[in-house]
C-alpha cells in the first residue's frame, strides 16, 4: 500500500541588522527586530495561518486518512511567541487532531553537527523538549538543517534513539535506485532513511506557478495521477518542502491553496493509496537496501552539497570564529549568552554570505536581507566580535586566563567589569550582571519589549481578521 508522505519545514531565522563597528562594544542589539517582525507577520498572514486553517479543514474532512509531518525550528517557535503567539495556538490545534507528526531538528536550525557534536546534541535535546512542551509529542524522526546528511550523522542520530531520518534523494547518491522506498544508512542497524522525491516535491514547491512549464496549470488530479503511477514500483512518495511554499512562495492567487485542498481527495481516489507521516512510513515499510553517504549532501541548489553555507572563505572564517567560542560560552553558564550563541549558529547567516550565485540574482538574493554577501559577512563579524567581548566579560576568571585572552581584552567599556569579575571570588554572576547593555538584548521571550508588544498586538488583530 503506497503512501504519500508530506513533511513541511517551518523556519524563520533571527536576521541581523547592519551592526557596525561603531555599535561594537557599545550595545548588543544584534537583530533587525522590525524586519523579523514584519517578515513573520507577512508570512503568517500569507502562508502559515491560512494553510493551517486549510489543513485543519482537511483533517476534519478526511478523518485520519490525511496527515502530514512538520519540522518547526526553535528560532521560528521563538519568533511565533514573540511576534505572533496565535501561531502557536494554531499549530497546537493541528497537533490536537492527531494527524500531525512533529519532527526533531537542531533548535537553532544550525550547522552544529559539522563543528561540534556536543552542541549538536544539546540543540537537538533542546528542540525535542520544546516540541514536547508545546505539542505533547516526542519527536522520533529526525531531519537535520537543510537536509544536510551523511553516514556519521545517521549513526549519531540512531544512537540518540530516533527511528528514522530524512535526507535528499540526490541522484549522485541514489544512482539507479528510486527514492520511493525506505532505505537504511549503511552503518546503522535500526534507523530508517526516508529520501525526498525531489521531482514531485519541486513540481509543487518550484514549478507550480511557472507558466513556461509544459504542465502548467497543474491540477490536483494530474499530480495525483503522477503519484498513482508509482504504484507497484514504490512504497512511499516523500514530498518534503518549505511550508512557505503555500501562500508565500506561491501566492494565494496562483491557486496553490485550491490545489492542496483538492489533493487529498485526488490521491485517495485510488484505493491503494494512503497518506502517512514520516514516522508511520518508517514503521510500515522495511528498508529495501543500505545507502552509503560518506560525503555530506543537502537539498540546496543544483549541487546538493554544503557550498551554499560553506563555499567561500568568508563563510568558513565566520563559522570557525563562531565555534571557536564554544568552550568559553559553556564556561559562562549564562543562559542569555547561550541563547545568543544558538541564534548566531542559524544556517541562514552563512547562506547570506554565499557568493556562488550572487551575479545571477536568484534565490540567494531573494532571501538575503543584506542584498550583498559582503555586507552580510561584515555585519555578522561585527556582531561576533561584540559577542566575544561579552563572553569574555562574563566568563569566570579561570577560563579567561586559561584561554589566554585576558590580556588581549582592550575595550575600555569591558575592562572594569572584567576586573571586577576577576577580583570578586563569586565570578560569573557579578560579571554578567554588571553588563547592562547585554541585559537589554532582544532575546527576552516572556516579556516582549515596548517596541515589539505593539507589533504583537497588530499580529493578533490581523489573525482575528
Amino acid at each position: 500500500m503506497p503512501s504519500v508522505c508530506f513533511y513541511f519545514q517551518v523556519h524563520q531565522p533571527y536576521r541581523l541588522r547592519r551592526y557596525t563597528v561603531f555599535d561594537l562594544g557599545q550595545n548588543s542589539l544584534y537583530e533587525n527586530d522590525d524586519l523579523n517582525c514584519d517578515t513573520l507577520l507577512r508570512v503568517a498572514r500569507a502562508s502559515y495561518l491560512p494553510m493551517n486553517d486549510l489543513l485543519l479543514k482537511l483533517f476534519r474532512r478526511h478523518g485520519r486518512r490525511f496527515k502530514v509531518g512538520f519540522s518547526i525550528s526553535g528560532t521560528a517557535l521563538d519568533q511565533f511567541e514573540q511576534y505572533a503567539p496565535e501561531l502557536i495556538d494554531s499549530f497546537k490545534a493541528l497537533a490536537d487532531t492527531g494527524c500531525v507528526e512533529f519532527l526533531g531538528e537542531t533548535y537553532g536550525h544550525s550547522l552544529a553537527f559539522l563543528y561540534s557534536r556536543d552542541e549538536f546534541a544539546r540543540q537537538v535535546e533542546q528542540h525535542a523538549t520544546r516540541i514536547r512542551e508545546l505539542f505533547g509529542q516526542t519527536p522520533r524522526v529526525f531531519r537535520n538543517t537543510e537536509l544536510i546528511y551523511d553516514n556519521n550523522l545517521a549513526k549519531t542520530v540512531e544512537d540518540m534513539g530516533y527511528t528514522a531520518i530524512l535526507a535528499e534523494g540526490a541522484d549522485h547518491v541514489l544512482g539507479w535506485r528510486s527514492p520511493n522506498f525506505v532505505y537504511q544508512p549503511s552503518n546503522c542497524l535500526k534507523l530508517k532513511l526516508l529520501l525526498r522525491n525531489y521531482g514531485l516535491s519541486d513540481d509543487i514547491s518550484f514549478r507550480f506557478e511557472d507558466r513556461q512549464w509544459s504542465e502548467w496549470p497543474l491540477t490536483a488530479d494530474t499530480f495525483a495521477g503522477w503519484c498513482h503511477s508509482v504504484n507497484g514500483a514504490g512504497e512511499t512518495i516523500n514530498l518534503f518542502m518549505d511550508y512557505e511554499t503555500f501562500g508565500e512562495h506561491h501566492r494565494a492567487d496562483t491557486g496553490i491553496f485550491q490545489f492542496m485542498e483538492a489533493l487529498p481527495d485526488a490521491v485517495l481516489a485510488h484505493p491503494d493509496f494512503v497518506f502517512r507521516t514520516p514516522g508511520e512510513v518508517s514503521d510500515a515499510c522495511p528498508p529495501v537496501a543500505k545507502i552509503d553517504v560518506p560525503q555530506f549532501m543537502s537539498w540546496a541548489d543544483a549541487e546538493r552539497d554544503l557550498t551554499a553555507w560553506l563555499g567561500n572563505d568568508m563563510q568558513k572564517d565566520a563559522i570557525h570564529a563562531l565555534y571557536a567560542l564554544e568552550t568559553q560560552v559553556a564556561a559562562t553558564d549564562n543562559a542569555e549568552l547561550r541563547e545568543s550563541w544558538t541564534r548566531l549558529q542559524t544556517s541562514d547567516h552563512f547562506y547570506y554570505m554565499c557568493t556562488k550565485w550572487f551575479a545571477d540574482a536568484d534565490v540567494h538574493k531573494y532571501f538575503n536581507p543584506f542584498g550583498s554577501p559582503y555586507d552580510a559577512y561584515i555585519a555578522y563579524m561585527n556582531v561576533l566580535a561584540d559577542f566575544e567581548l561579552r563572553v569574555r566579560a562574563a566568563a569566570p576568571a579561570a577560563v579567561v586566563s586559561e584561554t589566554g585572552t585576558a590580556e588581549t581584552v582592550t575595550d575600555v567599556t569591558d575592562a572594569p567589569q572584567k576586573k571586577r569579575a576577576a577580583t570578586s571570588g563569586t565570578t560569573r554572576k557579578s560579571g554578567a550582571k554588571t553588563r547592562k547593555p547585554a541585559a537589554v538584548k532582544t532575546t527576552d521571550k516572556t516579556a516582549p519589549r515596548a517596541g515589539t508588544s505593539e507589533k504583537t498586538k497588530h499580529a493578533a488583530e490581523a489573525a482575528q481578521k
Partner: protein
C-alpha cells in the same frame, strides 16, 4: 562599417575618464573590423593605429576653401545662433569650474604670461581658411568647441563614412553640423552630464548643447542606467532612444611588482584617487577616515589628485588632527598611479554623482578591493564590490574597518572580482556599439 567619431581627448593627452574610454572603445571596435576616423581637436598629425582601421585626425589646422566656408556658414549660423543661442565668446570657461577657481586661474594665467588670443589664429589666405585648436579644457573652451564644430564638419564633408558617433557635449555641435551637412545618422554618446559635473550650479550653455545634441541624435548611448535616468529626467530624452553600453577596462599587464616597504608592512593603506572636486566626494572620504581612525591604529589614508576642494580638505585634515594619518599624494601620472594602486589595500570611490567611473576597474587590475558609492554607474556592473551611499560616512567607515579587520573579506572580493572582470571587456561594448551602428544605418536607409 566606417564610423566618423568626434572626440575631445585621447591618450596620451587625457585629463579624465573620457579619453581612456574612447581609447578602449575604439581599439576594440578596430579589432572587430570597424573602421574609425577619430577626429580630435589637435593631435600630432594623422597617425593610424591597429592596421589602419583606426585613424586619428586633428581638426586643428584643417584647411578649407571659400566655397565650403559659405556652405558651412549657413549651417553654423542655423545651429549656433538660431538653435543653440550660445555665443562662443572667448571666455575663461571651464567645465569643472566655480567662480573662485575661475578667478584664481585667471590670475595664474596672467602670471604665467599665457595669452588666450595668441594661441588661436585664423588664417586668411585669399581663398583658404583654417583655425588652430589647442584641445584640452582651456579657458576659452566654448570658443574652441565652436571652432572645432566647424572644422570637424569640414572633415565630415571630405570623408566617406556610414555613421557619426560623438562623445560628450564638446563634440555634439560638430556632430549636429556634420549630420546637417551629410545626412548621415548620428549617435550621441554621453559619458557625463552637466548635472553630474556641476551639481546645483549648472552651466546653462553647456546644458543647452547637451539637450540639443541628445535630441538631434538618432540614437543615444549612456554609460550607465544611472546616466540614462539623468538624461531622461533632465533632458526629456525618450527612453526607447537610449541604449546603455557600460564602459570596461583595457587589460594591460602590470609591468612592475611593487613591494611594500618593510616599515609599512604592519599597516594598511586606503586610497582615494580622482579629482578633488564636489563630484568625487572627497569630503565624505575624509569624514569616513576620521571615523575609522577613531577605531583603528594601523591604517593610513591617501588622497591622490588635485582639484578645487583640495585646500579645504587639507584644512579639514588639520582641524581633525589626523594629518599624520591622512596623506595627500598630489596629482599622479603613469607609473605613479600604478604604484599607488599596487600599494593600496582598499580603493574608495565616494562619488556624489558618477556616470560611470573607470578607476575602480583599474584598481581591480591590481587586485585591490573596492568600495563604491551607490551613486555610480560602475556599481551597476560590479557585483563583487562593497557599496555605500556617498553621504553615509558611518557605513563607509564600517566597511573600511571590516576590510582592515577581516582579511577573508578582501580575499573573497578580489577572488570574485577576477572572475567578474572577465566579462567586463571592451570587446563586449564594441559588439553592442556595432549592433547600434547597424540599426541606425538600416533605419536611415544607407
Amino acid at each position: 562599417m566606417r564610423v566618423l567619431m568626434f572626440g575631445w581627448e585621447f591618450p596620451p593627452h587625457i585629463s579624465g575618464g573620457l579619453g581612456t574610454a574612447c581609447y578602449g572603445m575604439t581599439r576594440a571596435l578596430a579589432q572587430k573590423n570597424t573602421e574609425i576616423i577619430f577626429v580630435l581637436p589637435c593631435t600630432s598629425d594623422g597617425k593610424s593605429v591597429d592596421g589602419g582601421r583606426l585613424r586619428l585626425v586633428p581638426a586643428s589646422g584643417t584647411i578649407y576653401s571659400r566655397e565650403t566656408e559659405d556652405r558651412l556658414e549657413t549651417a553654423t549660423r542655423e545651429l549656433w545662433e538660431d538653435k543653440l543661442t550660445v555665443h562662443p565668446v572667448e571666455t575663461l570657461l571651464f567645465p569643472y569650474d566655480t567662480p573662485e577657481t575661475y578667478a584664481e586661474r585667471l590670475r595664474w594665467r596672467r602670471l604665467a604670461g599665457l595669452d588666450t588670443d595668441t594661441a588661436v589664429s585664423r588664417h586668411h589666405r585669399d581663398t583658404e581658411i583654417s583655425y588652430t585648436l589647442k584641445g584640452g579644457y582651456g579657458p576659452d573652451l566654448m570658443a574652441e568647441v565652436y571652432r572645432y564644430s566647424r572644422m570637424a564638419a569640414v572633415i565630415a564633408l571630405r570623408e566617406t563614412f556610414d555613421v557619426i558617433h560623438v562623445h560628450d557635449w564638446m563634440t555634439y555641435p560638430a556632430g549636429i553640423l556634420a549630420k546637417m551637412l551629410t545626412g548621415k545618422p548620428l549617435v550621441a554618446h554621453i559619458h557625463a552630464t552637466e548635472y553630474d559635473r556641476s551639481g546645483m550650479s549648472v552651466n546653462e550653455d553647456v546644458a543647452r548643447i547637451e539637450r540639443m545634441g541628445l535630441h538631434a541624435a538618432d540614437r543615444v548611448i549612456a554609460v550607465s542606467h544611472l546616466t540614462k535616468h539623468v538624461i531622461m529626467e533632465h533632458y526629456g530624452v525618450p527612453e526607447e532612444k537610449i541604449e546603455v553600453v557600460h564602459n570596461a577596462v583595457a587589460r594591460h599587464d602590470v609591468q612592475h611588482r611593487y613591494t611594500i616597504p618593510p616599515r609599512l608592512r604592519h599597516e594598511k593603506r586606503v586610497l582615494f584617487l580622482g579629482r578633488v572636486t564636489f563630484q568625487k566626494g572627497p569630503d565624505y572620504f575624509i569624514e569616513a577616515a576620521r571615523l575609522v581612525l577613531e577605531r583603528e591604529k594601523n591604517v593610513r589614508f591617501y588622497m591622490a589628485g588635485s582639484g578645487d576642494m583640495l585646500p579645504r580638505i587639507i584644512r579639514r585634515a588639520g582641524k581633525l588632527r589626523i594629518g599624520n594619518r591622512f596623506h595627500f599624494a598630489g596629482f599622479l601620472r603613469g607609473p605613479e598611479v600604478d604604484r599607488m594602486f599596487a600599494l593600496s589595500d582598499l580603493y574608495v570611490m565616494p562619488s556624489v554623482s558618477e556616470p560611470f567611473g573607470i578607476t575602480p576597474l583599474e584598481a581591480m587590475l591590481y587586485d585591490v578591493p573596492v568600495l563604491l558609492s551607490k551613486q555610480s554607474g560602475v556599481s551597476e556592473v560590479l557585483n563583487h564590490a562593497l557599496k555605500a551611499d556617498f553621504w553615509d560616512t558611518r557605513d563607509m567607515a564600517d566597511k573600511i574597518c571590516a576590510v582592515l579587520r577581516y582579511p577573508a573579506l578582501a580575499k573573497e572580493l578580489v577572488k570574485n572580482c577576477h572572475e567578474e572582470m572577465k566579462s567586463i571587456r571592451w570587446e563586449n561594448a564594441a559588439d553592442l556599439l556595432n549592433r547600434i551602428y547597424h540599426a541606425v544605418c538600416t533605419a536611415g536607409g544607407c
